[in-house]
Symmetry: C2
């Protein structure tokens, strides 16, 4: 593993060359590191200067962004940054800033420098994931509890302080132990709409972590029957074994007086259901298109959507829902900050007229 | 502004040279970019190769971490990455991975590559902040609503989709509009301990955003008197003007039948209070040491602490509290995931015996 520190400055005038020199001196004087210049590349938009350390293991890269007059300083080191705390990096930034101001002969703007947190490169598993709009979030994964590749996807379960255990499918956060209220309950419209599940029939399309199943079965007045159709047996086994708080004992039992878990393709299941008598059924998650012929008046289709930071995506989803149900359903949007997603997530509820 | 993309691979054997070559070919073939090698540095821990693009504006950096056999590929570009989506970067990673496997002659491990989200360099304000344990969180700051430097600190207010308005002091997130429940109410022990504030006297040391003040004044049975002592006038004016949902109308009024906001140094205020008659007072936040002589039996001292991801810090804080109050107070710890902090935060309540 090695580490990467990035500092950024706004230059009031083109002082990049004295800054490069100054930064090297600061690093040498305060941290005992020696860098020497190996290459300067002068592009029309960015100027880049590479430096290498005496021991050849660390590199220093300066970038001068000509249009924005921003200077980026990147330090990569397998040894140097390890011994530096975040506060040390801030001290280094302040030192360079101060000496930069001395060079300029006047104080720079107080907001003229910023620092990207130290990044860890070469780790054994990825801690850096993204929100729906591509922002980086570094997770505090303490340990990888489970890792396997199923026929359908990569399944990972990590343990964290902030969210409890987290389930990732193909590297994307699906659900965390501490998301029950913020995700599962909001998707179901609980606690407000709790009464509406009383004695209803529910079909869960997917939902392999078992969170929806457990939330519904533990209601004061649970549905009369829940069928859950999940294609990936490995997801169910992994969650049942490693995140029991979300789904147990229901996911390991697989069936009971009022529920049945089917391992299979939910689209095939829908075909069979459509061929048989019309049911008064509530369906949750994907496949509105296939489900809606099964929904009687008052029947509901509940689904999650996307992060609120991608309004175009949420808008398109709503348009898609409208185009499928036309005027035959009332559409309600809910939203909730989901801790393990690190953003506000949106959910839709369609009630058939 | 320019952008930085980082991909990481685990090499099963030392294939870095063919990977470097392969990556360049992939970039050229699929994205029309031409890079040529300018320097190779072979350290004992890391090997680094720099490439430059034909137009000299983009750079490509390969790092081979010898101990972990991890390969890091960094692409910096003012133009190239702007036109690439996150999915494009993933496609690129998959392409290189696939071609890497062809070179090896056998499939690599499925978890052998990971990708850091694209980083934005040279921005006008910093979007990358850290949790208490130094993890990077990229905030979705839509606009900077307020920026000023007071005598005591830098004050920033940003607008976001996920958290509403956020107050930063010296670049550190202090409070967001949507944190009222997760931060202010947990600090106060609400709603469970609401009854305990009824007709009590409360002293708020600091609390410039006015969140605590408003939460207490809007209780069904509010305290009989609240004194708030805040040193930074500029923080109060900024919050009153730009985050009214947190503190209004109380912060602009500054006084009422049962509250009084004092601009000043809370330590001086405590000295005066200590010199006068002993009060039955509840004090919130810092300065237990100075406050405790003012606390009668049953009086409480409430304070926030640190993130749960730094257990040593939380442990030291608790030890410090114990050493001050000895056996004369009962200490209770509470914790809560604070959305705008992106982590679980801890709070302490001390009740004088």
């Amino acid at each position: 593993m090695s580490e990467k520190g990035i500092l950024e400055f706004k230059a009031l005038r083109s002082v990049e060359s004295c800054l490069f020199h100054r930064c090297c001196l600061t690093l040498e004087r305060h941290f005992g590191l020696n860098f020497e210049k190996i290459q300067k590349i002068k592009g029309s938009k960015v100027e880049t200067v590479f430096y290498q350390s005496e021991d050849l293991n660390s590199t220093l890269m300066f970038k001068y962004h000509i249009a924005s007059k921003a200077i980026t300083i990147e330090i990569d080191s397998p040894t140097f940054l390890k011994t530096m705390s975040f506060e040390d990096m801030q001290d280094l930034a302040k030192l360079i800033q101060m000496e930069h101001e001395q060079d300029l002969g006047f104080p720079n703007q107080s907001d003229s420098w910023q620092q990207l947190p130290i990044l860890q490169l070469g780790q054994s598993f990825n801690q850096y994931l993204t929100t729906s709009d591509g922002r980086v979030i570094q997770y505090g994964f303490k340990s990888r509890v489970f890792h396997d590749q199923s026929k359908y996807q990569t399944i990972d379960i990590y343990d964290t302080e902030d969210h409890g255990k987290i389930l990732l499918l193909d590297g994307v956060v699906n659900l965390a132990e501490n998301d029950t209220k913020a995700y599962t309950e909001i998707l179901l419209g609980l606690p407000k709409n709790e009464e509406q599940f009383n004695q209803k029939r529910v079909l869960i399309l997917g939902g392999g972590d078992g969170g929806l199943l457990k939330s519904l079965l533990t209601l004061t007045h649970p549905p009369s029957q829940i069928d859950m159709v999940e294609i990936d047996e490995k997801v169910m086994t992994a969650c049942s074994t490693h995140i029991p708080s979300i789904c147990e004992p229901y996911l390991s039992q697989r069936s009971g007086p009022n529920f049945n878990v089917i391992t299979g393709d939910c689209f095939r299941y829908l075909e069979v259901a459509q061929a048989s008598a019309k049911l008064s059924i509530w369906s949750i998650q994907r496949a509105l298109q296939e489900s809606r012929t099964l929904l009687d008046q008052g029947g509901k289709y509940l689904t999650h959507c996307n992060g609120i930071n991608v309004p175009s995506s949420v808008g398109n989803f709503k348009t898609m829902l409208k185009s499928i149900v036309k005027d035959r359903a009332q559409i309600i949007m809910r939203s909730s900050f989901v801790p393990s997603f690190h953003e506000v997530w949106t959910f839709f509820e369609l009630e058939m007229k």
